[in-house]
């Protein structure tokens, strides 16, 4: 392993802002995408169970 301690790992040689700023954004983006997937499927299934009727 490269890192003598957890603090060293988190510090990323002084580049913590850039490295973790990147990885956190990736995690946030993928997490948001997964959430959107779940919501879209749920809405589609609800529509099938109980179709919303248009106003006349």
């Amino acid at each position: 392993m490269n890192w003598p301690s957890l603090d060293d790992f988190l510090a990323m040689g002084g580049y913590a802002l850039y490295v973790w700023g990147s990885y956190v954004m990736v995690a946030a983006a993928l997490g948001w995408e997964a959430l959107m997937l779940v919501q879209r499927r749920r809405r589609a299934l609800e529509e099938l169970r109980d179709p919303a009727h248009e106003e006349a």
Binding site: M1, N2, G13, Y18, S22, M25, A44
Partner: protein, 255 residues
């Protein structure tokens, strides 16, 4: 009356999966494998990239952004080519499912493009001294983001989804020229963005553990993108085929 069954040794007709109902079921069976692959490759890639690969002599640990930036950038291009391909197939053969799949790919591609631009910017600041520069690679990747958003907006702007599919397909096909521009930009022009360290024709110029981490993360992003596309296309199918009896008869659609 005799019930006719398919001959037991008849070859598999792949074209049956052009039917939304058949593909819906197939995608459902493939999904767990894709999610598992994404998780496994992702865990392995992060372990190698963040834990095992050594610090770079020139860039220090800032280079570790490579393990998310490059896979996202690769996927942004691959997804666009897949989108343009399926949109073209849908346009030429008038197949509904092809267009639905293109529709399902677009948000993923846009997200990968955004991630590539964001992580690239964060990598550029400590190494180049700037968050952004209008060089050929960065500019063409930004254009890719606009193409994805344009595709989605154009499709959604039509009341008739099939007309929307056709209009968006034309945009997708025309915009496909941007992908080779992005790819070759670092060769064709003087760019601040570095040239390729990995090519199809010669040995890579980066250290083995770094390359291993990069390839594992690339596989992870690819598996994730496939999983997301399969999941999303199932929702698109349910939305578009809601008039058909088979959708309403699905166990998950029963109250």
């Amino acid at each position: 009356m005799a019930l006719t069954l398919p001959h037991p040794t008849a070859p598999l007709r792949w074209t049956r999966y052009a039917a939304p109902s058949a593909f819906y079921a197939l995608a459902g069976r493939l999904l767990p494998w894709c999610w598992a692959a994404a998780a496994l490759f992702g865990a392995a890639g992060l372990l190698v990239g963040l834990g095992l690969a050594p610090t770079d002599f020139q860039q220090g640990d800032a280079y570790r952004i490579i393990f998310v930036h490059v896979p996202a950038a690769w996927m942004s291009m691959v997804i666009y080519l897949a989108l343009a391909f399926w949109a073209a197939v849908g346009l030429v053969f008038n197949t509904r499912l092809s267009a639905m799949f293109a529709c399902a790919l677009a948000p993923s591609g846009a997200l990968m493009t955004f991630v590539a631009l964001w992580t690239g910017s964060l990598w550029g600041k400590p190494t180049w001294g700037t968050w952004w520069v209008w060089d050929a690679r960065l500019t063409s990747e930004l254009l890719l983001l606009f193409l994805y958003v344009g595709f989605m907006a154009l499709q959604a702007a039509h009341d008739d989804p099939r007309r929307g599919d056709r209009a968006a397909a034309v945009l997708a096909i025309v915009g496909a020229v941007n992908v080779p521009v992005i790819y070759f930009s670092v060769t064709w022009w003087n760019t601040l963005h570095q040239g390729s360290s990995i090519s199809f024709t010669k040995a890579p110029s980066m250290a083995a553990p770094m390359l291993a981490g990069l390839l594992l993360m690339a596989l992870a992003f690819w598996a994730w993108a496939i999983a997301v596309a399969l999941h999303r296309v199932r929702s698109v199918i349910l939305e578009r085929e809601r008039g058909a009896a088979w959708t309403r008869a699905l166990p998950e659609a029963r109250a």
